[in-house]
């Protein structure tokens, strides 16, 4: 009979505005990356792809990408081999431990990178342990909350305790039940959590830069350095970065929505 008035379109409008606000800069960066000159004019004066050539020819580009990859892969491995079993155990068997994990996952919000890193320099800087290892452990800890959250949601949908116990009652071992029953059914949440961990580790800047004081130039540190020397080349790098992360985001969205679909049908 009556059409809903303001309360129907206003929330949509707000979300659209947020999306435009966040996506606008990307578009601008892309245009900048293919501009000859673009200073104090509404539109650039000409278009070119030469900056893409300049960047990929730079001898620092590939090594810094590799360094970022090493960091990200190491963090993902730690997350999978250490954090995943702990979170499974807490979710399925030990609600008290789960409580404590909740607090732990608030911790990194309240101890931001800068506080951590100054302490890290003091405490672990002079230890006879590779600094890179300390860095990997630190970034793993920082990635824990997002990973924890993704898995938590995955564990919420089904009766995982029941499924895990049932698999054992059907004759399977604990490890077998975990691999054959638990893992396939948290796959979506696990993938989301690992991809978030990967991108966070891959794009980490503050801790890497300060703790290793430029000795370990990741892609992101390289990007900052480039920004001070060649704005257009930095834009190119930004776009490459964005496409790379965009692909990851696309995979994330595919996972999230395919999960929804299989549940609905």
């Amino acid at each position: 009979m009556r059409a809903h008035s303001v309360d129907k379109w206003l929330p949509r409008l707000i979300i659209i505005l947020i999306a435009i606000f966040l996506l606008g800069p990307i578009v601008a960066t892309f245009i900048y990356s293919i501009s000859t000159v673009w200073v104090k004019t509404i539109l650039p004066s000409g278009l070119t792809f030469k900056w893409y050539g300049v960047l990929t020819a730079d001898p620092d580009f590939i090594p810094s990408t590799l360094r970022s990859l090493i960091l990200a892969v190491a963090v993902v491995l730690i997350t999978m081999l250490v954090f995943l079993p702990v979170i499974f155990y807490a979710n399925v068997y030990n609600p008290k431990l789960k409580e404590k994990l909740r607090y732990l996952s608030i911790l990194p919000y309240s101890i931001p990178g800068i506080v951590l890193v100054t302490g890290l320099v003091q405490l672990y800087g002079s230890l006879p342990v590779p600094k890179l290892l300390i860095l990997i452990l630190t970034i793993s800890a920082i990635c824990l909350p997002a990973f924890y959250q993704s898995l938590n949601n995955a564990f919420m949908g089904d009766d995982f305790q029941g499924m895990f116990e049932q698999a054992q009652l059907l004759g399977d071992s604990k490890l077998g039940a975990f691999v054959r029953v638990v893992l396939p059914n948290i796959r979506a949440g696990l993938m989301v959590g690992l991809l978030l961990t990967f991108t966070t580790a891959f794009t980490e800047y503050v801790i890497t830069n300060i703790f290793l004081t430029g000795q370990y130039e990741t892609l992101k540190i390289y990007m900052y350095r480039l920004m001070n020397t060649n704005g257009n080349a930095a834009s190119v790098l930004t776009i490459i970065f964005f496409i790379f992360l965009g692909i990851i985001a696309f995979i994330l969205i595919k996972i999230v929505s395919s999960q929804k679909r299989s549940v609905k049908e």
């Binding site: 009766d159 029941g162 059907l170 399977d172």
Partner: protein, 340 residues
């Protein structure tokens, strides 16, 4: 020696969680090839006992013998006991076929063996057409049938069903209840069926075991427990009985051999149609103060001159009275049972 009477034998079982004793010195036997219901209100410890038998709670004191073997120290996957959960606990990533085949694959059976066993089982549960469906695409009743098939295909020594029907709607509940009884009889599996629903327990069980607060109240056939409850708890829980003291009975003019204690009168044994032969019968007279027509049957209450409210029940046929009428109901005096 093992005989069929103590196929499962639980002795002096004690279970505590965080210092609270949940199961108190519980002992009972289950006969081979029977269906026994554990009946009790929620929190009475039924599920805890089941999990101990299955090996899912391993911190307890006492002995659990299955088929002559002490199973207390075996892992759940070594016991050959199946268990059905209220939540079904199907594996959402596997089809109906693969769910049922899970245990056989763990046992590394041949492909042909698995195909045959699962196909047969699908026929038993009537889901042959759904073999490639995922659990998400099945109804609640179908899911629970798959869960039951998944356990039964392994031919367990004992199948434990933990409130398997609670998540289902009324109509499906009755259907599946009858199907479970049928599987039990056809395949001869020994089953323990946990429920808090008296009708369900009575409809399905050979034996009923009534629990309250972690203790055994009574074990026996459904009809025996219904007609001869040993404790007031059982009398109250199992039926809608009239409970009267010896004094009440004498006020109502009902019994000669009064001793102290509590007596029950089953509502359905009060007949408003006068028996042909009144020998051995007594009558209760009163005003109809409540009358509920529940379709196939009618529940009503009489208020007697002595002020007692007496509940009675009959089929919905030949009802020749209505609310506020004064009527007489007849009762075989021998049916007044003492509790205990």
């Amino acid at each position: 020696m093992v005989n069929t009477d103590n196929f499962l034998s639980v002795s002096h079982l004690n279970i505590s969680f965080n210092g609270n004793t949940v199961i108190k010195d519980l002992s009972f036997n289950i006969k081979k090839g029977t269906l026994t219901s554990f009946l009790g209100p929620s929190g009475s410890g039924k599920t805890t006992v089941l999990r101990a038998i299955a090996g899912l709670n391993q911190t307890f004191a006492g002995q659990i013998m299955l088929d002559g073997q002490d199973i207390a120290n075996l892992q759940p996957n070594q016991r050959n006991i199946g268990m059905i959960f209220q939540s079904y606990a199907l594996f959402p990533n596997l089809t109906v076929f693969d769910n049922i085949a899970y245990g056989l694959r763990v046992q590394k059976k041949s492909k042909a063996e698995i195909e045959k066993a699962v196909t047969d089982m699908l026929a038993v549960i009537g889901l042959t057409q759904r073999r490639d469906y995922y659990p998400a695409n099945l109804s609640g009743g179908q899911r629970q049938r798959v869960a039951i098939a998944r356990s039964m295909v392994l031919e367990p020594k004992l199948l434990l069903l933990d409130e398997p029907l609670s998540a289902l709607d009324a109509k499906t509940r009755v259907e599946l209840r009858n199907q479970i009884k049928r599987y039990q009889q056809e395949l001869g599996i020994t089953m323990i069926f946990v429920t808090h629903d008296q009708t369900e327990a009575m409809a399905i069980s050979d034996d009923v075991l009534i629990m309250s607060a972690g203790e055994l109240e009574q074990q026996g056939s459904a009809m025996d427990i219904y007609a001869n409850p040993k404790t007031m708890f059982v009398a109250d829980f199992i039926g809608n009985h009239n409970v009267l003291t010896a004094t009440d009975l004498s006020k109502l003019g009902l019994v000669a051999n009064q001793t102290d204690g509590q007596y029950i009168i089953r509502p359905e044994l009060l007949e408003h149609v006068m028996p042909a032969n009144l020998n051995g019968y007594a009558a209760i007279e009163g005003q109809v103060v409540e009358l509920a027509v529940l379709g196939n049957r009618v529940e009503y209450s009489l208020k007697t001159a002595t002020g007692h409210i007496v509940k009675a029940e009959c089929m919905n046929q030949n009802i020749n009275f209505t609310i506020n009428d004064h009527i007489k109901v007849y009762l075989k005096v021998a049916e007044i049972k003492k509790v205990g």
